[in-house]
Subunit: 136 residues, 2 copies
């Protein structure tokens, strides 16, 4: 029942310092989270800069507060740029960085892998609604 996993598949984890490992896990978790992923996705679709209010419209269901917070985090992680045009009224544009675009591609690859197996996950859900596994 054990999947045949190459024992070297996890070797890279050991080569990181604790701080680096923590950072990598953080980025992984954040980039897969609901709002950051949707935001990066919208920015990638647009293939160009997007104003704050456009993002607020296109990232469906997000509140202004959460959008602001998420963008700040994405910015400090180097995944998006924030450009302020000092006008009245002000204009602020957000855009994916190259690093952000590449990361998104990687996350989307995983997303797609999962999406292709959605039937498997649906089956698992249905099955687990039933029995308790008992052995002797």
């Amino acid at each position: 029942m054990v999947t045949n996993i190459d024992s070297d598949a996890f070797a890279f984890c050991e080569t990181l310092t604790d701080a680096q490992d923590a950072l990598a896990r953080e980025i992984l978790e954040r980039a897969s989270a609901k709002w950051p992923l949707r935001i990066m996705y919208v920015l990638a679709e647009t293939k160009g800069p997007l104003r704050f209010s456009r993002l607020l419209e296109r990232v469906e269901g997000i509140s202004q507060k959460v959008l602001t917070q998420a963008l700040r985090t994405l910015e400090s992680d180097g995944l998006v740029t924030r450009t302020l045009y000092p006008q009245v009224p002000p204009r602020v544009e957000y855009e994916l960085t190259p690093l952000g675009g590449e990361l998104l591609l990687q996350v989307v690859a995983l997303w797609r892998w999962i999406a292709e197996r959605v039937p498997d996950f649906e089956k698992a859900r249905a099955r687990s609604a039933g029995a308790t596994h008992i052995s002797k």
Copy 2:
């Protein structure tokens, strides 16, 4: 400044129903989250079944309650199996399913990709601690 993203990279998203898309996003988010990932990681390292109490020891810092919850979710997602041996005292063993093992491999691939770019993220962090981007 726009990363050159193949416009078909996201095509698969459109082929899913809303429910399937939601499920895929859920699995993605959960599998990348802190505790589920650590748990699957420990189970994969072990290459075999592991008792509840062993998991509690090896998944460092997790509480008994959260471990239980996470395992229930992993089980209902079809990523781990829970096998009860009706003894006194009871014995319960958890093990990665093939689907769980494969998913973990995919997540670890992404994790590794990020880990290799940790210096980039560190640089971004350092840079963002400084300036506001202003254009005219």
